[in-house]
C-alpha cells in the first residue's frame, strides 16, 4: 500500500491519501487526543482489514480503539494491563504508561509499552497477556529509561517467513530475539557499544540504547539500527552488529527506514548530537546509503536548508513497499514526502501537531 498513510500525533490521527497532486488529509480521528501509535489495516489473515489506534489520554490513561472500516468508525477494545505488582518488586511500577509499538504477525498482535512490557493478543485486542518470559528476565533489572523516565519497547520486528520469530528493541535495554513464539528470549547485541556508560560497561548488552531497529522485508536477516551512539547493521538476524561510520555530518539520530527489497539501502535523519538534538546548521538532511553503509549521500533537495530545528523521532521516517515513496514527520509537526527515494523531497503544506508515528498501509 503506497497511496495511504497514517499520521499519529499529539492531537489526533490523520489519514493521508495520495493523489496526482501529492498527499492530502482525507480523514481525522480522535481530534484533540494524543495518539501514540497506530497499526494500519492488517493486510492478510483472520483479522484482515482491521486496524488499531493507541491513545494516551492525558488524564485517563492509555486506551486502545479498533476500526473495521479504515478509520471511518472506531470502537474501544481492551487495554493491555499489567498484573498486580508483587510487594517489594524492583524497577518501575507495573503500570502501563504508553503503547510505543504495535505490530501484527500471523494472527497475533504485539504491543510494546512503557515501562518495558511486551503484550500479545490473539483476538485482535479483545484481551491481552503480558509476555512474562520477557518481563521476568533477570536482565530487565538493568534496563533504564531512554527518552522517558522508564524503559520502553519501541521496535517490534516479526520475521516475515517465520511466525514464531521476533526481534525487538528496548530503550534502554538492548535487542532481544525469540525463535519460539516468545517462550524464551536471548539478547542480540554483540558489536553494539554504549559510550554513555562507564567504559567497563560499554559492551553490556542489557543497557544498549537502540533508538530504532528495522528489518529488510525481502532479506529479513538484514537488520539496521539507529543507536544512541551511531548506526549499526547486522546481516545475520542481529547475532552480530557492524558499526557504520560513513554517514556525513552526524550519525546521531532516532529513525531509520530500510528499503523493502534492497538490503543495502536505508535512510537516516541526523541531528547534531546527543546534547543538541536539532539539524546541523538549521538544515534538514536525510542520509541515504545504497551500498550497505559504505557510502552515503546527503539528501537536501526540497528540504528546508535554513532556520529549521525539527527533530525526527523514532517512528517519524517510513518507506512504502514501492521503495521509492517516503514520509518524514517531526516532533515539531513538519511533514515531508518524496516519491523517488529522496532525490527530491517536498514539504507538505500542513501545520500538524507534534508527530509521534507514521505508517503506510
Amino acid at each position: 500500500m503506497n497511496d495511504r498513510a497514517w499520521v499519529a500525533t499529539r492531537k489526533g490521527l490523520f489519514r493521508l491519501q495520495r493523489s496526482p497532486d501529492g498527499w492530502r488529509i482525507a480523514q481525522i480521528s480522535f481530534l484533540g487526543e494524543p495518539v501514540s501509535m497506530v497499526l494500519p489495516p492488517v493486510a492478510a489473515g483472520p483479522h484482515r482489514g482491521r486496524m488499531l489506534a493507541a491513545l494516551n489520554l492525558g488524564h485517563f490513561g492509555t486506551k486502545v480503539h479498533a476500526s473495521d472500516d479504515a478509520g471511518a468508525t472506531w470502537h474501544e477494545v481492551t487495554t493491555p494491563t499489567y498484573p498486580e505488582q508483587p510487594a517489594g518488586a524492583a524497577g518501575p511500577a507495573w503500570k502501563l504508561q504508553q503503547i510505543w509499538s504495535l505490530e501484527a504477525a500471523g494472527g497475533t498482535l504485539w504491543a510494546g509499552t512503557l515501562p518495558g512490557g511486551l503484550f500479545r493478543s490473539d483476538n485482535f485486542g479483545q484481551s491481552w497477556q503480558l509476555v512474562r518470559s520477557l518481563w521476568d528476565q533477570p536482565e530487565r533489572a538493568e534496563w533504564f529509561g531512554g527518552g522517558y523516565d522508564v524503559p520502553g519497547i519501541h521496535s517490534i520486528c516479526p520475521h516475515p517467513g517465520r511466525p514464531d520469530e521476533l526481534l525487538l528493541a528496548v530503550s534502554c535495554g538492548g535487542v532481544w530475539h525469540t525463535g519460539d513464539g516468545a517462550q524464551t528470549w536471548k539478547l542480540r547485541t554483540q558489536g553494539l557499544r554504549a559510550t554513555y556508560m562507564p567504559l567497563e560497561r560499554a559492551d553490556d548488552g542489557r543497557i544498549q540504547d537502540p533508538h530504532r531497529i528495522e528489518r529488510c522485508a525481502a532479506r529479513p536477516e538484514v537488520v539496521w539500527c539507529q543507536h544512541h551512539n551511531g548506526i549499526w547493521r547486522s546481516a545475520d538476524d542481529a547475532l552480530h552488529w557492524q558499526e557504520i561510520t560513513a554517514a556525513p555530518g552526524s550519525s546521531f539520530g532516532f529513525a531509520v527506514a530500510v528499503h523493502p527489497s534492497d538490503p543495502g539501502a536505508a535512510w537516516f535523519v541526523p541531528a547534531v548530537a546527543d546534547q543538541c538534538r536539532v539539524p546541523k546548521d538549521g538544515a534538514l538532511v536525510v542520509n541515504r546509503t545504497r551500498d550497505g553503509g559504505e557510502t552515503f549521500e546527503a539528501q537536501r533537495q526540497g528540504l528546508p536548508q535554513a532556520d529549521c530545528y525539527d527533530l525526527v523521532y523514532r517512528h517519524g521516517l517510513i518507506v512504502a513497499p514501492d521503495g521509492q515513496s517516503l514520509l518524514m514527520g517531526s516532533s515539531g509537526g513538519g511533514l515531508w514526502a518524496t516519491f523517488n527515494g529522496g532525490e527530491r523531497w517536498q514539504t507538505l503544506p500542513l501545520r500538524l501537531p507534534p508527530i509521534y508515528a507514521l505508517r503506510f498501509g
Partner: protein, 89 residues
C-alpha cells in the same frame, strides 16, 4: 445514600452514570459506579487499582490526596466528585 458524580469530560469516551450508593468508604463507592459501567474503571484507576495520577477525587468538596488506600469514610449524604486534574494540554 452517597452520590458519585463523574466529570462530564469523560462522556466523550464512555458513559458516566450518576450513582447513588450505600457504600460507607470511598473505594466501595467507586466500585458501585464501576458495576454500572465496567469500562469506567480503567479511566479512573491504573493497573494497580490506584487513582490515576491526573485524576482527582473530592469528597464533599475536600480533595483526597491518598490515591492508593481509598478508605475515606463517606456519610449517607456525601457527594464524591471524580474530576480530571488540571494537567496535560
Amino acid at each position: 445514600m452517597a452520590r458519585v458524580v463523574f466529570t462530564p469530560q469523560l462522556r466523550r469516551f464512555t458513559e458516566t452514570p450518576e450513582v447513588q450508593t450505600s457504600a460507607t468508604v470511598l473505594r466501595q463507592a467507586l466500585e458501585s459506579a464501576f458495576e454500572a459501567n465496567p469500562r469506567l474503571r480503567g479511566y479512573v484507576f491504573d493497573d494497580q487499582a490506584h487513582v490515576r495520577a491526573n485524576v482527582v477525587i473530592f469528597i464533599d468538596g475536600q480533595r483526597c490526596d491518598d490515591r492508593t488506600r481509598l478508605d475515606q469514610t463517606l456519610r449517607a449524604d456525601s457527594t464524591v466528585h471524580v474530576l480530571q486534574a488540571l494537567s496535560g494540554g
